[in-house]
């Protein structure tokens, strides 16, 4: 069930009044849980079983972890949780990938391996990371286990962020649902503002840019360098408008029910280095990788060479998290190398830096977005040879083979977005200027967004990050 579909409109239109008439916290939670399971089952009801198993095991493991101080037992329960979640990921997401990587071995042994026949369960990477963080935090004694299975099940499966994040920590989510309050009109309205912004980004921008991006990436050999650069920049625009749109919608829906979900983006294309980029992009994943992978590996506490290695390993696995394909692995590895390089040269910037460096800051921003664009070529290409063909043609094929005007147009749109972010960061929806605007002006702006959304509506397309 896509957020940008009529079935979701019916779903939410039924859910909100039902929620509003329920008299107490517990039935409200139960309703949200059932709704979340229905939401998920709408994709493929069979995979609901994975969600239920993951919920049951992690809930139980969390309780057992808290009940004992014996290191062996604690490790055992942590292992059970990690084994289940990583096992699901390994089998359902990466199984076929590893089987195909080992194809020469199977051939030489004369074995025909069995392949997992279905699609990858939607959102599996998101909810498994979420539940793993829960048991790891209890193991580390950073949090106590959830005392209510209903609360925990809702934490794992809350439909707003179930399939594409943000990856929410139990410490952020569970305290908010201990007592589910009545629906408040202010929350629903403000959540709707945010949802409409996401809808506009997804339907009016991302899906339309996607038509151009798909054309270019299907046959990069048929285009010249200008078009290919334009295609890469267009994908930069698309992937942001698609993924951040989902996060906007998720935050908006959460807010409607009084649940505050974490922000996943902080104007990533304002970054002046890849280091800063990862502080602004898919924040819930990058902080997850930092807390549960980079730091346990030793972080930056064990000398320079270990720090570099840890950075690389973290980004490499972060790439693999995105999908079972070599393109994602290479993309992650590339980001790992760049992070290492920035640390070695001392050129990494931070999102917290007040001084943005003036003109040179802008130049660095352009370079960062360009590096990101080249990385995304690998990310988006069907396979590595195609990515290589694309990238080599970006620097060698300067003949005109068509598509240049469209490419320049979308590049211009990206520049508009990047410059617009300076404004959006300070004055967009949820920012002070927006909040202080008269209601009529807000209403006119929202009406304009809706008109543009309807005007530019392309065919319904799934969110890019659903596949991860």
């Amino acid at each position: 069930m896509l957020f940008n579909s009529s079935i979701f409109a019916v779903f939410i239109a039924l859910l909100l009044p039902l929620y509003a008439i329920l008299p107490a916290s517990r039935p409200r939670k139960l309703l949200l849980l059932v709704a979340s399971y229905l939401f998920y089952a709408n994709w493929d009801w069979r995979y609901l079983s994975l969600l239920l198993i993951s919920t049951a095991i992690d809930y139980h493991a969390g309780k057992r972890l808290a009940r004992t101080d014996r290191l062996g037992a604690r490790r055992g329960w942590l292992f059970a949780s990690l084994f289940t979640n990583l096992g699901f990921l390994g089998v359902f997401k990466y199984g076929n990938f590893f089987i195909e990587l080992a194809e020469p071995i199977w051939s030489s042994l004369g074995i025909v391996p069995i392949r997992f026949p279905g699609n990858i369960p939607v959102g599996i990477s998101f909810y498994t990371f979420q539940t793993m963080s829960y048991t790891i935090d209890i193991y580390r004694k950073k949090t106590s286990p959830c005392g209510c299975l209903l609360d925990f099940a809702l934490y794992v499966s809350f439909f707003a962020q179930l399939v594409a994040g943000p990856i929410v920590r139990s410490t952020q989510f569970l305290p908010q649902i201990v007592s589910m309050k009545q629906l408040r009109m202010g929350n629903v309205s403000s959540g709707t503002h945010r949802f409409l912004l996401g809808l506009f980004k997804k339907v009016a921008i991302a899906d339309n840019v996607g038509l151009f991006v798909d054309t270019i990436f299907q046959a990069p050999g048929g285009y010249g360098a200008i078009t290919l650069w334009g295609g890469a920049f267009a994908f930069v625009l698309q992937v942001y408008c698609d993924f951040s749109a989902y996060s906007d919608m998720a935050v908006g829906i959460g807010r409607a029910f009084g649940i505050k979900l974490p922000e996943n983006f902080k104007n990533p294309y304002l970054a002046r280095s890849i280091t800063e980029f990862w502080q602004r992009w898919h924040i819930s994943l990058s902080t997850w990788l930092r807390d549960y992978l980079f730091i346990p590996l030793g972080g930056s506490r064990k000398g320079l060479s270990r720090t570099y290695a840890n950075l690389f390993i973290t980004m490499f696995l972060g790439g693999l998290w995105h999908g079972a394909a070599l393109t994602y692995v290479v993309w992650g590895g590339l980001h790992g190398l760049i992070l290492m390089l920035e640390r070695i040269l001392g050129i990494g910037t931070s999102v917290r830096d007040e001084n943005r460096g003036g003109f040179f800051g802008v130049v660095r921003g352009i370079i960062t977005v360009s590096i990101h664009a080249v990385g995304l070529v690998i990310f988006r290409s069907a396979d590595l040879p195609t990515a290589w063909q694309y990238i080599t043609r970006m620097v060698t094929a300067w003949e005109s083979l068509g598509g240049e005007q469209m490419a320049l147009g979308w590049t211009g749109a990206l520049i508009l977005l990047c410059t617009g972010q300076y404004f959006i960061e300070r004055h967009g929806i949820d920012r002070p200027l927006w909040i202080e605007m008269p209601a009529a002006v807000q209403g006119a702006a929202l009406a304009m967004l809706l008109y543009l959304t309807a005007w530019f509506q392309a065919d319904k397309v799934a969110f890019i990050y659903f596949q991860f």
Binding site: E103, S189, Q218, G443
Partner: protein, 361 residues
Amino acid sequence: MNKATKALIWCAALMIASEVGIRTLESGPIRVVDDAPSFETRRPFVFVLGTSRVRRGIWPRVIEKAWAEETGHRPWVASIWELAVTNIGLYKIYLDEIRPWAKKSTIPNGVLAIEICGASMNDSYMRDEEARYAHVSTFGKHLRAGDLSDASSQLLVSSARFTEIKGIIEDRFGKGERQEEIRIEDGEKMEDNGESAPQSGKRKTSLAQYLHRYSWGRGYKGFDPHHGTMDDLRLEKIREQYTGTLLKDYALGGIQIKYLKKLVKSAREDGLKVVFFILPITADHREFWDGDMYAAYVAAAEEVAAELGVPLHNFDRDFEISPDEFRDTNHLKEVGAVRLSREFASRLLGDGLVPEAGNQN
């Protein structure tokens, strides 16, 4: 009432007001003029239908550009290809993908360029028995499809340009209606040889499951199905299963010719002009085939073209191309594809199938 809710009410009120305003304007003496006819309905459309060789060798945008350079007008060019390579498959693609809107008579300058299939990859004539059976068994289910709603539908691949052009047409003229349940006529159903043909509505085999085992460029003169060798037992089993009708039907003759003719007839009924072509292959690839089978295939193609009065362009014979321009034994690299596509554009113009420059609107 809080401000966010007021804003939503304002939003709804403004939208209703503007909607009412537009409707009033539309129904009153001042009418909104529909500017849709600015779509270039007489701009030539060229659909190129064929095998994976079309995918690699015929580049729609290069043809468009070459044509525009020569005439000053740009056509729409799109390719669609299939991987099982039968004329039945091409006919199915035509019915499903092109006819729904070609039939609407909105494409006055339409051309259908068909790569003559059936024996164009002609695995049934391959010298190496293992390669022959492996390939035919890989695509067996699709080749033996008992009705067209199953035939080759998993194997259809269309170019991005096709999707784009289809979108433009559908925006302008609306979606075409697909024909349902198109069945091969009685008596034409292919032999089953023991394995049941796929049933309608049943989940179809995923092409991806086959393709990982199937690649060109390695092993026997460039052909190495299964990335290895087949054991004798498996070969024997496949041989038993596929010897006979299926191999015969896969060659360019009988049922394949019949469906090529049906395809031409349907296209002409829909107002499209038809042209045939044969794409170049390397000498190595020709050697895959038994004896003079390749010459027989070309002769059969020429005979059908003459009988139907369709121009036939044999790029394998009439277009000079070096082995360096191939990526394997029968698919072109970019350099070859660009050259061939330009030549393709020039030949189509030479056929005079579409209006000359300056006479398109």
